[in-house]
C-alpha cells in the first residue's frame, strides 16, 4: 500500500504539518488525527507543508474542508505551502486557491501569521500545464 506520513512541528505559535507520500481515502484519517490533536490542543494557526507529498485525492482535500470552519471561527487559519505543480493543479482545479492561502514557501506562510495579515495577496504558482 502507498505510504503516507504526517510530521508535526511547532514554530512559535504556528503548528506545521509536513505531509509525505500519498494522501488518499485510506490515509486521510491519519491527517484527520493530526489536525484533531492540534485543535484539541487549542492550536489554530496551522500550516500544511506539501513539499514531500506525491499525490492528493479528494478525500485529502476533504480533511482541509472539515477543519477550516472551526479553525477560522477561532481566529486561526490553515495555510498551505510548498506544493508541487501536480498537487497544486488538484487544488487549483477545485478552486481551492479562492478558499485557502497557498504559498510557495513555508516561511511566507509563517510570516503571514506573524504579521497577522488576514488577506495576503495570492500568487498563482506555476502549474506546469
Amino acid at each position: 500500500m502507498n505510504d503516507f506520513k504526517v510530521g508535526i512541528r511547532h514554530m512559535d505559535t504556528v503548528t506545521v504539518f509536513d505531509l509525505k507520500g500519498y494522501l488518499d481515502a485510506h490515509t486521510a484519517p491519519d491527517l484527520e488525527q493530526a489536525f484533531l490533536s492540534a485543535i484539541d490542543g487549542r492550536k489554530y494557526n496551522l500550516v500544511v507543508n506539501f513539499r514531500d507529498l506525491a499525490y492528493i485525492s479528494s478525500a485529502g482535500l476533504g480533511v482541509l474542508m472539515q477543519f477550516i470552519e472551526d479553525v477560522r471561527k477561532n481566529e486561526g487559519d490553515i495555510k498551505l505551502s510548498n506544493m508541487s505543480p501536480r498537487v497544486f493543479n488538484v487544488f487549483d482545479l477545485l478552486g481551492f486557491p479562492m478558499l485557502y492561502e497557498i504559498y510557495a514557501e513555508e516561511r511566507d506562510a509563517l510570516e503571514k501569521f506573524r504579521n497577522n495579515v488576514t488577506h495576503p495577496p495570492y500568487q498563482k504558482p506555476d502549474t506546469g500545464e
Binding site: D3, H26, G62, L94
Partner: protein, 729 residues
C-alpha cells in the same frame, strides 16, 4: 438384551431350584454321603454358568469407576466374613459322620447347605467378575491372554479339586501343580491395575483405604479357608456346609478369596507407591485438560469478553492459582497498526479479573509506581515474582501484609506485545520452572486466540464494507443513464468504468428543451454509499433545474445552494455542465472544480478550463462569482470530450500518472472516429497504461461530436472565451 439377561437369571434360578429339589430327594432316598454326584454337578455347572453370564452382562454394561468396584469388593468381603462368623456361632447346620465322610443330619441342613452354597458360589462369582473388570479397566494386548489363562487355571483347579475330593484324595499332586500355577497367574493379572496411576489424589486416597481393608479381609478369608481345608476333619461348619453342598463351590470360594487377597494387596501397594506423586500428577492432568480446552477455545473467539473470562478461568485451573487477570491496554500502548489498512481493527482496551479484586491488584505496582505491565513490556518475557513482600521490583507497601506470588506473562501479536496475563497465588514461591513453562505455552495460545478474535472482527468489517460496496455500485449503476438523447446534428457516447472501491463519478445528458441538450459530468468526493447518495442528489437537482435556465453558471449556482444545505463539511463535488444548441452547434459550459473540457477541432486539441470552484465548498455568493461560462462554436466534425480525474490520474505500476498530454494525444489520433470509438480507444489506452497498476478511482468519459446543421458548416472553428453570462438568443 434385557430379555436375554432375564432369561439367564431365570435359567440360573431354574437350575438351582431343580438342584435343590434333587438334593432333597437324594437325601430322602439314600443315605449316600453328601457332596457332588454327576447330576447334581451338572445342574450346578449349568446354574452357575447362567448366573456367571448374567453377572458379566450386568457388570460390563456399567462403565464403572474402578474405585467403586474396589468398594463393592470390600463390601462383599465384609458381608462374607460376617456371614461365615454368624454361621459358625449358630448351630443350625448339623452333620452326622457317614463312613470316612459325613452327611447332613436332616432335611433342614440339606436345604441350608444348598442355600448357603449357592449364595457363597454366587458371591464368589460376583467377586471374580468385579476383579475381572478391574483387570480390564486398562486393557493391553496381553491382558486378555493373561486373563484367559487365569480363567482356565481357575476352572481346572475347581474341577480337579471336585474330582479328587469326590474320590477321596483332595490333596493329589495334579491339584497341587495347578494350584502352583494359579497363584502366579493371579499375581500377573493383579498387576494390571495400572488405572491406579491416573486416579486423582482424592481417589487414590480412597482407593488406598479400600484396598487396605479389601486386602485384610480377603487375607482373613483365604487364611481361614486354608486353615480349615484339612477336610474331612469335619471341624468347621462353613467348610462342611460348602462341601456337603458341592466341593467345587468350596474350591471356587477359596480361589476367589485368594485372588481377592492378591489383587487387593497389589492394589494397596501400587496406590501407596503412587501417592507421593499424586499431587503432581493431578496438576499435570489439569494442565493437559486446560491446554486441551484452550486449544478448543482458539476457535471460539467471537466474543472477546467470553474469551478473556475463559482465559482467566483456565489460567487458574492450570496453576491452581488463587486469581488470574488479563489486561489489554489501549491502542496507543500497543504496537501501532500498519499504516494504510483502512480495515485494521485494533485490540480493544479491556481488563478481565477473576479471583482477585481491582483493589488488590492495584496494590501491586512497580517500585517506581508504574503499573505491573511495564515489567513485562520491558523485556517481552515472562516475569515471576516469587514473594510479593520481598521482591525489589515491586513497590513496598505497608498496606499489603499478605504474602503471595505472581506470574506475569506477555501476550504477543506480530512480535509486539498486546497485553498481559497475570496469575496470583496466596503463597510465595509457587511458580516453579514447570509451571512457568506451561503458563508460557498457555499465554502463546491466548495470544493466538486474541489475534484470531481480532482478525475475525477485521474480516467482519471487511465483509460489511464489501456489502456496502455492492449497494453503492448498484446505486451508482442505477443513477447513470442507460440511454442518451440523440439527434441528427450530433453524436454522443459515454462510459463509466467503476474502480474496485466505487468512487462517485456521474454523468448525464438530457434535453433541456426542444433546442438544447444539457450534458453533465461530475465526481463526488468520497466513496461508497455516501458518495452514491450525493450523486443521487446531484442527479435530482440536475434534472429539476436544468429546464429553468440555459445559463450554465445559473444552474451550477442553484445546485451549489441546494447541495451546501445537505452536504457534510468534508464533502464536495466537482462538476462540469454544458449546454449544446442542437441547431447551431454552440456549446456553452461552466466548470465547478472539475477537470477541463477537451476540445478537438481539425485534428488539434485544447483543454478549456474556465474558472470555477467545486460544489459544496462555499455556500456564499463567492461560489457563483467564481464560475465562468465559456462558449464554443462547434464546426462539423468537432469533438468535445468530458472526463473525470480517474482518467488523467490513472497510475501505472511505477506510480506515473496518465496525465492530460496522453489523453489529448490519444483523442487526437482517434478524432475522426465515432464518439463511442474514441471513448473505447481512450479507455483501452488507459488500461494498457495502468497494466500492473491498480485502478484507484472510477473513470468516466463522455464524447460529443457535432455533425453540423447545414447553416453553420464550413465556418471557422472559434472558441469564445467569454467571461460574461450569455443569454440564449
Amino acid at each position: 438384551m434385557n430379555v436375554n439377561r432375564k432369561l439367564l437369571l431365570l435359567l440360573a434360578g431354574a437350575m438351582f431350584g431343580a438342584d435343590l429339589v434333587y438334593l432333597v430327594a437324594r437325601h430322602a432316598m439314600t443315605s449316600a454321603p453328601a457332596g457332588g454326584d454327576l447330576f447334581h454337578t451338572l445342574l450346578l455347572v449349568l446354574g452357575f454358568a447362567a448366573f456367571g453370564a448374567w453377572v458379566m452382562r450386568v457388570q460390563h454394561h456399567a462403565e464403572q469407576n474402578p474405585v467403586q468396584l474396589v468398594g463393592k469388593s470390600v463390601i462383599a468381603a465384609t458381608a462374607l466374613i460376617i456371614g461365615i462368623g454368624m454361621l459358625r456361632m449358630s448351630s443350625i447346620a448339623r452333620f452326622v459322620p457317614a463312613g470316612e465322610s459325613f452327611a447332613p443330619e436332616g432335611i433342614t441342613t440339606v436345604i441350608l447347605c444348598a442355600f448357603l452354597g449357592i449364595i457363597a458360589g454366587a458371591t464368589a462369582m460376583l467377586l471374580f467378575s468385579i476383579h475381572t473388570d478391574l483387570i480390564f479397566v486398562k486393557r493391553r494386548r496381553a491382558t486378555r491372554r493373561n486373563y484367559l489363562t487365569l480363567l482356565f487355571l481357575h476352572a481346572a483347579y475347581i474341577a480337579l479339586y471336585a474330582i479328587f475330593w469326590m474320590e477321596g484324595h483332595p490333596h493329589a499332586v495334579p491339584l497341587a501343580i495347578v494350584a502352583f500355577l494359579l497363584v502366579p497367574a493371579m499375581v500377573v493379572n493383579a498387576f494390571r491395575f495400572s488405572w491406579i496411576l491416573v486416579l486423582t489424589r482424592k481417589e487414590k486416597l480412597a482407593n488406598l483405604v479400600l484396598c487396605f481393608f479389601g486386602a485384610v479381609f480377603f487375607i482373613i478369608l483365604s487364611v481361614d479357608s486354608a486353615v480349615f481345608s484339612g477336610w474331612p476333619s469335619g471341624d468347621d461348619t462353613f467348610k462342611m456346609v460348602l462341601n456337603a453342598f458341592h466341593p467345587a463351590v468350596d474350591a471356587l470360594f477359596s480361589t476367589v478369596c485368594l485372588f481377592g487377597a492378591i489383587s487387593m494387596s497389589v492394589g494397596f501397594t501400587s496406590t501407596l507407591l503412587h501417592l507421593p506423586t499424586a499431587k503432581e500428577f493431578d496438576r499435570k492432568k489439569a494442565e493437559i485438560s486446560s491446554l486441551h480446552n484452550m486449544s478448543r477455545l482458539v476457535t471460539e473467539v467471537f466474543d472477546i469478553d467470553e474469551l478473556l473470562s475463559t482465559t482467566t478461568h483456565l489460567a487458574m485451573e492450570i496453576t491452581e492459582g488463587d486469581g488470574a487477570w488479563i489486561e489489554l491496554p489501549s491502542r496507543s500502548a500497543q504496537r501501532p497498526e500498519e499504516a494504510g489498512d483502512a480495515f485494521a481493527v485494533p485490540f480493544p482496551e479491556k481488563r478481565s479479573l477473576r479471583g482477585i479484586t481491582e483493589e488488590r491488584l492495584g496494590r501491586y505496582r512497580q517500585s517506581g509506581g508504574a503499573p505491573l505491565i511495564g515489567l513485562v513490556a520491558e523485556t517481552g518475557k515472562a516475569v515471576t515474582i516469587q514473594d510479593v513482600q520481598r521482591d525489589r521490583r515491586l513497590a513496598a507497601r505497608e498496606d499489603a501484609p499478605e504474602s503471595g506470588s505472581l506470574a506475569l506473562l506477555p501476550l504477543r501479536s506480530h512480535g509486539g506485545m498486546v497485553g498481559l496475563l497475570g496469575v496470583y497465588k496466596k503463597t510465595p514461591y509457587e511458580f516453579d520452572k514447570d509451571v512457568m513453562h506451561v503458563l508460557s505455552a498457555f499465554a502463546d495460545l491466548v495470544s493466538i486466540a486474541l489475534e484470531n478474535s481480532r482478525l475475525i472482527a477485521e474480516s467482519l468489517t471487511r465483509e460489511r464494507f464489501k456489502q456496502e460496496l455492492l449497494v453503492a455500485r448498484q446505486m451508482q449503476r442505477s443513477l447513470l443513464p442507460s440511454l442518451l438523447p440523440l439527434s441528427a446534428t450530433y453524436d454522443i457516447a459515454a462510459e463509466s468504468i467503476p474502480a474496485y472501491e466505487v468512487g462517485g463519478d456521474y454523468f448525464d445528458a438530457m434535453r433541456v428543451d426542444g433546442r438544447h441538450l444539457g450534458i453533465t459530468i461530475g465526481d463526488v468526493s468520497g466513496k461508497g454509499v455516501s458518495a452514491a447518495l450525493y450523486m443521487a442528489q446531484v442527479k435530482g437537482i440536475f434534472q429539476s433545474v436544468t429546464g429553468e435556465s440555459t445559463s450554465t453558471r445559473d444552474l451550477l449556482a442553484r445546485m451549489n445552494a441546494t447541495l451546501c444545505k445537505t452536504m457534510d463539511r468534508k464533502s464536495f463535488i466537482s462538476l462540469l455542465y454544458a449546454v449544446l444548441d442542437i441547431e447551431t452547434g454552440i456549446l456553452r459550459f461552466s466548470r465547478a472544480g472539475h477537470c477541463p473540457l477537451l476540445y478537438i477541432s481539425a485534428g488539434s486539441s485544447q483543454y478549456l478550463r474556465p474558472d470555477g470552484m467545486g460544489l459544496g465548498l462555499d455556500p456564499t455568493d463567492r461560489f457563483a462569482a467564481s464560475i465562468d461560462e465559456e462558449e464554443i462554436r462547434m464546426h462539423s466534425g468537432d469533438l468535445v470530450i468530458l472526463f473525470t480525474d480517474g482518467v488523467t490520474e490513472a497510475r501505472d505500476a511505477g506510480g506515473e500518472e496518465y496525465q492530460y498530454d496522453r489523453l489529448a494525444r490519444v483523442a487526437e489520433a482517434h478524432a475522426d472516429q465515432s464518439p463511442g470509438a474514441v471513448i473505447r480507444a481512450i479507455a483501452r489506452s488507459v488500461q494498457e497504461f495502468t497494466q500492473g497498476g491498480e485502478a484507484i478511482d472510477d473513470m468516466t468519459l463522455l464524447a460529443l461530436r457535432w455533425n453540423g446543421s447545414g447553416e453553420t458548416s464550413g465556418g471557422d472553428t472559434e472558441t469564445l472565451l467569454d467571461q460574461e453570462e450569455h443569454q440564449h438568443e
